[in-house]
Symmetry: C2
Subunit: 287 residues, 2 copies
């Protein structure tokens, strides 16, 4: 009997899951295949997952928080918390600390990236998240505004329909979970190529990552970014840039950027964040 119980406990013990950072371009499928959310569910431990949802970017945090709780409970997670953090000093509560220290995954919802950074940046809660992500103890996902905050530099807003120029994009400081990148979300859906390029002119030491809706750039611990979902992930890499006029022209003058590298990636493609190499998915040639 004791042996049987031990066997049962062993079976219940979470599989060693590969943690990751999942950067989602917004509007991920919440109804049908739910491929991206299901991957997050699996990466956080599947039926053993304890998911902590932070809906602070949203104007309706409890509604959006409850929606994700229902989705993850439907999938079969063991536990799902909503941390409805609306003020910075909420971040010191023991409930929040305990949830973030015990969970196997954290999910940042959409909304306004400035609001999200406003309540989370430089708090004890953020320290716990960052430290546990770095240690590979939790899988972190952010969608839309929750994706925008991933870099050190963050796109807070901007326009389109103009030549690239500095005044086209509003920059702020993000949560620096992947400091090397500048994320833009709802990317081709909202014609944001020009604002990402405008952002990179001021920050040519970063890599621009544009993520379409219902699409995810999943960053593994080994530096590989995997693409998953319906749209494309656009990489704008200024590593080899030979020239920009960014510091010499007025804020509304057209920017130039010479020798950027551009990759349009689709489902299954990979890009290495440090080697700056790209690999295609293995596709089936139609018979």
């Amino acid at each position: 009997m004791r042996q049987l119980k031990a066997k049962w406990l062993e079976m219940r013990t979470p599989q060693a899951t590969k943690t990751a950072i999942m950067v989602i371009g917004g509007a991920e499928d919440k109804v049908h295949g739910r491929e991206i959310l299901r991957t997050f569910f699996n990466r956080t431990g599947a039926n053993d997952a304890y998911i902590t949802i932070i809906p602070s970017a949203s104007r309706e945090p409890s509604i959006i928080g409850e929606r994700y709780v229902r989705i993850f409970k439907d999938m079969g997670v063991e536990k799902a918390d909503i941390l409805d953090i609306r003020e910075r000093d909420h971040c010191d509560s023991s409930y929040i600390k305990e949830s973030l220290e015990a969970c196997s995954g954290v999910f940042l919802t959409g909304g306004d990236q400035l609001r999200l950074c406003g309540v989370l940046a430089d708090t004890r809660a953020m320290d716990i998240i960052r430290q546990r992500v770095r240690a590979g103890q939790i899988t972190l996902a952010g969608t839309s505004a929750g994706a925008a905050v991933m870099g050190h530099h963050m796109i807070a807003g901007g326009g389109s329909g103009e030549s690239p120029n500095r005044s086209l994009v509003d920059m702020a400081t993000g949560l620096s979970l992947i400091p090397e990148i500048i994320v833009d979300q709802h990317f081709h859906n909202r014609n944001r190529m020009v604002r990402l390029m405008s952002a990179l002119a001021s920050h040519p030491d970063r890599i621009g990552i544009g993520i379409d809706e219902d699409t995810c750039a999943m960053f593994e611990k080994d530096g590989w970014l995997h693409v998953m979902g319906k749209g494309s992930v656009t990489i704008v890499d200024p590593t080899e840039m030979t020239h920009t006029n960014e510091s010499h022209v007025g804020a509304s003058d057209p920017l130039n950027l010479h020798n950027l590298r551009l990759h349009i990636l689709s489902h299954g493609d990979r890009f290495h964040l440090y080697q700056r190499t790209v690999l295609p998915s293995v596709y089936r040639i139609p018979s």
Copy 2:
């Protein structure tokens, strides 16, 4: 007296002008500085210019033709013709032949690029233009639809707001004056980056040239493209492309393109069409 007349004739002889092909992104300044149109005026011989305007792309060819005639007459050209070609068989008329053989510059107006190609492609008139452009005898300019027709492959229409995909762009055959390029015009103004990339996935042996409004890519005989005007010229160069799924996916599936080279050029920048090199303008550092 005979000597005086010879001297007078010599002074009247057109200056040796450097001919070029001027590809204009549409909506060029027609009222104030008129920088681009004035450059065309100069390149066609200034006060000695004989400019032939082909307004066939437009639904209102005589109105738009007259507008350009007034502009160039204001500048001081010696002669300006309108070739109001509405049917292919007009192209055989001796008036049109004589105008195209005697002029120092041809200007293609905006409108619909399919209509322009419909009346001009494979006609005697087009043969004369092409032969005289190649011989460096005339400067050719095209704006908007008149720019779209420059390549062998032409973007006839398309959309935006989606991940790059084949069905996003409608391709047709252009007038092949610079066969190596695929032009897109009103470029950042109408968020056309995604349709140019979608076009290149099917034609990776070409170079994508996206030209903003009131901006010109001026192709010199030596292979250099010079940028002039208010906006930017975007070069998408697939020469080093390592992979695309273009031939393996459905028409609406997201395309991937790995290892494109991207240049955003502004006023004074240069790009060499065959060497694929880029040079910045010499700019004045603010004091």
